[in-house]
């Protein structure tokens, strides 16, 4: 297996089909994301963004081709690969009955951290994300914005080299969105590669350097955001989006 350390993500001739859902499928998909990039993945509802995210994180297994993270193939070296990345799913992916500290303790241990590492990272993250005052309260009683921050904290507890974020700011207020985006920028500055999906295209335009737009399981455009806008003679990501995917409703 050829190791290409300069690439954070490498998708090679990837094919995938749900056994019970023919609507979303990929065939011979190729995509590369360099280390340290802030990469945005966009597309209308049902385009396959979440499926692609699940394939890259190993939640789903590819039928053909392969996906490599930092040169290591997902699905075959899960134990090693899974330590390299963090995942912030669109759904609240934690235990509502537990407090932020208890959630971070559990997910930190499962991410491979020891007791001291968990304690240090928990204090650090709760402080950065403004959750220190509610550290011992059950997350189930939190507001949507606070839950989003807990969701993010869990995803980065083990200092991953690649961070996958599936609509990390959906349903939050302006303050929380700013706090999350600023924190993601800082993470990226410290070397973490960000792979990000969102329907907030203004926010995405502000955060991402490189993008890929997918529809019906195919990449319809990709590259540096400025180059892509210039290539399609568009001034904003939203215009480009409508231009490439149309105005019809998507389910």
């Amino acid at each position: 297996m050829a190791v290409t350390p300069s690439l954070a993500v490498s998708i090679e001739n990837m094919g995938f089909r749900y056994p019970d859902n023919a609507d979303v499928s990929f065939s011979h998909l190729n995509l590369q994301v360099a280390k340290g990039e802030r990469f945005g993945l966009f597309g209308p509802n049902g385009a396959g963004k979440t499926t692609l995210m699940n394939l890259m994180t190993g939640v789903l297994s590819v039928n053909e081709g392969c996906i490599k993270l930092l040169g290591l193939e997902t699905g075959k070296q899960n134990k090693v690969v899974n330590k390299l990345f963090g995942f912030v799913p669109q759904d609240f992916s934690f235990y509502q009955e537990l407090s932020p500290v208890e959630n971070l303790e559990f997910f930190g241990a499962w991410a491979g951290l020891n007791k001291n590492q968990i304690a240090n990272r928990t204090d650090e993250l709760l402080h950065i994300l403004g959750l220190n005052d509610v550290r011992d309260k059950a997350v189930g009683k939190f507001s949507g914005g606070m839950k989003r921050r807990v969701n993010l904290a869990i995803g980065v507890i083990h200092n991953p080299q690649i961070l996958f974020l599936d609509e990390p700011t959906v349903g939050v207020d302006v303050q929380t969105r700013h706090a999350i985006i600023n924190y993601l920028r800082k993470l990226n500055e410290s070397g973490t590669t960000l792979i990000y999906t969102s329907h907030q295209l203004n926010e995405a335009e502000d955060l991402c350097e490189h993008i890929a737009m997918i529809d019906e399981g195919k990449i319809i455009t990709q590259g540096n955001i400025n180059d892509v806008l210039k290539e399609h003679s568009q001034t904003s990501l939203e215009e480009l989006f409508i231009n490439l995917t149309g105005k019809a409703y998507r389910n």
Binding site: N54, L60, F85, Q90, F92, S93, F94, Y95, F106, K115
Partner: protein, 429 residues
């Protein structure tokens, strides 16, 4: 080990904050054990300690019918109330009015028929003593003449087994009256004087007493009571009742986003399942401790017989451990295959009632026939119940329940394997 320890901490925290789940796992089974034991104890006392109310309408005026009533009263299992002979046609109304479970109408010619039968038997015996074979044949022909039946009315709530016992007791009273009359007639025919009372008593009374002794493996003579039957049985049911909490938790974790995140972490989900098994196994052990403790110390205070705990405590521990593990494995299995908490709770509740039925918790498996008896072998509750009964009722030791433990263990391994296949099929591991 650190991951497992943290996972157990997480599961315990979630469990302790699930107030409804805890009440389902502890409060409901405790109520169930107390209620079922109380009801069965009162039934037990009704049959064994209280007398069954019986109304007797004697339309006969002879001595034999009076002797029959005395004989029925002396049996000791009936509370006899006599009503006027004019009420014979309204015996069922009287039973309803006086809450009697049984009613007897003694026919008007009862004493005359007893006398006739006694005379025939006496004549036959006398003929036989004197060697007149032809006369014996004639006597036999006369004796076949019809005797009016004694009608025994019963309330349908009486179980068949109890009705047969009652019928047997009444028949023995009838037999006593008939035999006494035959003896008296025969004695008079032979000696032309009355049978002396002392001789009559000697001939009629049996000097052989019957001792009822429970069979046990350790030679002790502890009389089984409703607590000995119910506490172990409903403890098993309580252990399987954790499906209402654990099955739902597995489904909730599976369908929530947390499961997706768990799949992306460098830890096998089997650690999570192992943690749940350890946590909930402790819960089942705690359930058993609580329910057994109630049987030992609380029951005597609320008027129920105390539970006699087996001498082989280690055997009880092992049986409880394996039964608890089976209950936990079954709950996780249902949780893995269920698509929603509603499915898990609905299927879980119904399935454990079915397993309890075929396992002998509701109807003793020895009373089952044919396919039901075969099906009992597939219920883990059956093997656990047999093991508990061997320990609690028969004073058995660990070696006596090893075959039950082995069967339970095999069923548990099969359930675990099915769970593994389910996890694989659903791409959860």
């Amino acid at each position: 080990m650190f991951k497992l320890w943290i996972s157990i901490k997480k599961d315990v925290r979630i469990l302790l904050r699930d107030k409804v789940g805890i009440s389902l796992m502890f409060v409901m089974p405790i109520i169930l054990v107390v209620v079922v034991t109380s009801i069965q104890n009162s039934t037990f006392e009704l049959v064994n300690k209280n007398k069954l109310p019986i109304i007797i309408c004697n339309t006969d005026t002879g001595k034999s019918s009076a002797q029959l009533i005395t004989a029925i009263d002396k049996i000791g299992m009936f509370k006899v109330t006599q009503i006027a002979k004019e009420s014979a046609n309204a015996i069922t109304d009287n039973m309803h009015n006086q809450d009697a479970l049984l009613g007897i109408v003694i026919p008007a010619n009862f004493s005359a028929e007893v006398n006739t039968k006694a005379k025939n038997a006496s004549d036959k015996a006398m003929a036989a003593f004197s060697g007149q074979a032809d006369t014996v044949k004639n006597v036999e022909k006369k004796a076949i003449a019809g005797i009016d039946p004694l009608n025994l009315y019963y309330n349908p709530v009486l179980q068949e087994s109890l009705r047969f016992s009652i019928q047997g007791a009444i028949r023995s009273a009838l037999q006593l009256v008939q035999t006494r009359q035959t003896l008296r007639t025969l004695y008079y025919s032979s000696n032309e004087k009355e049978l002396p009372q002392s001789l009559e008593n000697e001939m009629l009374n049996s000097n052989t007493t019957i001792n009822m002794l429970p069979v046990s493996k350790d030679g002790t003579r502890t009389t089984p009571n409703s607590s000995q039957h119910n506490v172990p049985a409903w403890t098993i049911f309580a252990m399987f009742f954790i499906i209402m909490s654990l099955g739902g938790i597995v489904v909730k974790e599976k369908v929530s986003g947390s499961f997706i995140r768990l799949k992306t972490l460098p830890t096998n989900y089997m650690v999570g399942l192992l943690s749940k098994q350890i946590t909930y196994l402790c819960v089942t052990m705690l359930q058993a401790v609580v329910i057994f403790s109630m049987g030992l110390w609380l029951f005597p205070y609320i008027g129920l017989p105390a539970l006699n705990f087996p001498a082989d405590v280690f055997a009880v521990f092992i049986v409880t451990l394996v039964c608890g593990w089976c209950a936990v494995s079954y709950s996780i299995c249902v949780g893995v295959f269920a698509e929603s908490q509603e499915q898990s709770n609905g299927f879980g509740a119904v399935s454990i009632v079915i397993l309890a039925c075929i396992g002998g918790l509701m109807v003793p498996s020895f009373a089952m026939q044919g396919i039901a008896k075969t099906m009992a072998n597939f219920s883990p509750m059956h093997w656990c119940l047999q093991a508990y009964y061997t320990l609690f009722l028969e004073g058995g030791k660990l070696k006596d329940v090893l075959n039950n433990i082995a069967s339970l263990f095999i069923i548990t391994l099969i359930i675990q394997f099915i769970t593994y296949l389910g996890l694989k099929r659903k791409n959860l591991i």
